[in-house]
Subunit: 407 residues, 2 copies
């Protein structure tokens, strides 16, 4: 699928290598600069990290989108350096990246969004970036979205792309995006960058609401250990060339949000599955909660538990760890009402029913913990709210990768 | 020190092996049943897990202390099985442990406190426990506090004991305790059990306040990943045989709390240092906060970060990870005011001053990350509140231990 992957109509992508990826940990591809360009000014929206330490490109993009979300032309992204904790020089460098890209594309600097990912606290090598931007905007660059998807990778082991085409308001609408973020918990890697494009015709404020709704059921449902890094950014650009107009509150809007959520969920699950050192995806479903917030608190506490992650890695169906995490989540829990099952619904093994251990077959449960994905489904028995969270297992390789990252 | 370790005057200890420790992970000592007995009824206080899933002995002890905190005679502790998520049978088993101990010691069941630690969700082998209690209360048991300290271990690599003798109100007062809990994050191991004894003369309500104050600066300051397990319990027994009376609000009370805090802090740091797979203690000091709660939020978020723990393990002074954790802690943070130093105060290396990276010597900082303990000191530059939290590094051995625990 990757080789034939394209952005939505109205957008093109390219990538080049300008020498920013020096760490061996980031050598999956030496491409390190990606350009997404729109043929004409388009609508844009962004969802950004809630971390109080925000990288320069995040501050810059928020400023641009506040003023100019109806007229964006490009997104320039570098990997290898997060341009975070870099002070005033970092902000000047982010602005300069936009200005150089605008110059090459013959648009205005405030029509260009900027993304960075990589090591924190080091100044950007602007000589390399300057040369790289000149190349990436030219025919000399490697053309196409697959190259761009590889260029933004850091410790990712594979590019992450997703797309769908649905009929909305009588016209085929494409939603297509790519992202990086090698899993869960490496906030210093400026974990997650995602660029999603569509040819739907959407006003910036409507686009923002749609993106927020889609993020809530996708990127905000993967376990990042409470982590939201300095750089986490999800951007959505809408070219409008399909002619399908998406207005707030319409059926078309609902269909658009559903399709966008599907693409974002696919991307988010790819991120969780590609966690550093991960061997398996874990899907945690919490049902029977009093409300969604409580369901999410429980699911998230289970999903970020190193104990649960290591148990899955070892294929050890240690359900005590699931209960423990639920118990300390802060959500309302009645131990006597908990029911816990492993495996997909059609062949689940219930290990705890109404608070009491069952006489389940341990060997069968252990086998389910060695499949990919691993399903963990906990019913709180208190209400009807439900949520799903995705994470991955936790291996020795995770320690290996993270014990020796910057040096 | 361990060989000569004794409890405070008025208490004796003994231990035996009754066959509850079957897992190889718990084979550091085959002793698995410990008795602490008071020569006469004494005052007692307890601090218990806040986890909503509480083990049977926790529920039982809370009931006993609510009714009978002025007349406790003994604490019976088993390792190998946490008696958690065991329903009504579990509660009956905890009561039976107290009754059997009371019978052997010729006191009443509601004068006996019960502690359990080990695997969750499995019924206690009461035949073994029954035989064991008969032995542990008899001369056939291994006598002395060192044996008791070994008996309560699970994945601990060494026993944890601490004591001090101070003059209070003109009399020498001894505070002496032992605990188990192999580090941070293994709530299914019913992480932390601690029994502290003193010969001070203290009424139960005063004793409870003193214990709460001491726990807040010790056991509540070690990183347990937000984890408080099903079984976490800290008990304090006061025999009064020193004759030193500790009354609320007195200088003697303050001196008692200080000495108790010293013992509890020593025990807590031993737990952090002995984290599963750990090679080094990490001391995180957060200063310059608006209030202690904010300081604690920041310090705790740093201390539970797998990224920071793996960086310390690798001797990699990756300060970006410290900032990231601070930024996502929920506390007030102004990135431009942060100052971060590694190493002990007398030879610290400042890596970030007022939000900007310094030109520090990376080699020097890396050397500080290979020492034991590792010091991480972050000043928020916003106020005058400060706190200290202890944790340990995060190794491949942690994954190894936790990937294959129950099976």
């Amino acid at each position: 699928m990757l080789d034939t992957f394209t952005l939505a109509p109205g957008f093109r992508a390219a990538a080049t290598a300008c020498g920013l990826k020096t760490s061996s940990a980031m050598a999956a591809s030496n491409l390190d600069l990606a350009l997404v360009a729109a043929e004409a000014p388009c609508s844009a929206a962004g969802v950004f990290t809630s971390n109080r330490v925000k990288a320069a490109p995040v501050l810059y993009d928020q400023e641009v989108l506040a003023q100019n979300a109806g007229s964006i032309r490009a997104v320039i992204t570098n990997a290898g350096n997060a341009n975070a904790v870099t002070g005033a020089q970092g902000l000047a460098d982010a602005r300069q990246m936009a200005a150089l890209t605008a110059y090459a594309l013959r648009c205005q600097p405030d029509q260009v969004l900027v993304l960075s990912t990589g090591v924190i606290g080091r100044p950007l090598a602007m000589d390399k970036v300057t040369q790289g931007i000149a190349v990436v905007a030219s025919p000399a660059a490697e053309q196409g979205a697959p190259a761009a998807a590889r260029a933004i990778m850091t410790t990712d082991t594979r590019p992450k792309v997703a797309n769908t085409t649905v009929t909305i308001a009588g016209a085929p609408v494409t939603i297509s995006g790519f992202c990086k973020g090698a899993g869960m918990i490496h906030p210093d890697m400026a974990t997650l960058l995602a660029i999603v494009t569509t040819d739907a015709q959407v006003a910036p404020d409507v686009l923002h609401n749609a993106l927020k709704a889609a993020a809530d059921v996708s990127f905000n449902r993967i376990s990042v250990d409470g982590d939201t890094s300095t750089n986490d950014t999800l951007l959505l650009l809408a070219s409008g060339v399909s002619g399908a107009a998406i207005r707030a509150g319409s059926d078309a809007y609902a269909a658009f949000v559903a399709a966008l959520s599907e693409v974002c969920t696919s991307l988010a699950k790819q991120v969780a599955r590609d966690g550093e050192g991960a061997t398996r995806l874990i899907e945690v479903v919490v049902s029977g909660a009093e409300d969604v917030a409580q369901a999410h608190a429980v699911a998230n506490t289970i999903a970020i538990s190193p104990l649960l992650k290591t148990a899955v890695h070892g294929g050890d169906p240690n359900w005590g760890r699931v209960l423990m995490a639920a118990g300390r989540s802060g959500a309302a829990i009645d131990p006597a009402r908990l029911t816990l099952a492993f495996g997909p619904p059609e062949r689940e093994v219930v290990v705890l029913r109404a608070g009491m251990p069952t006489t389940y077959a341990e060997r069968e449960a252990a086998a389910l913990f060695r499949e990919d994905p691993v399903y963990i489904r906990l019913d709180l028995g208190l209400g009807s709210a439900q949520t799903t969270v995705w994470t991955c297992d936790f291996s020795k390789e995770y320690v290996e990768i993270n014990a020796h990252y910057t040096t």
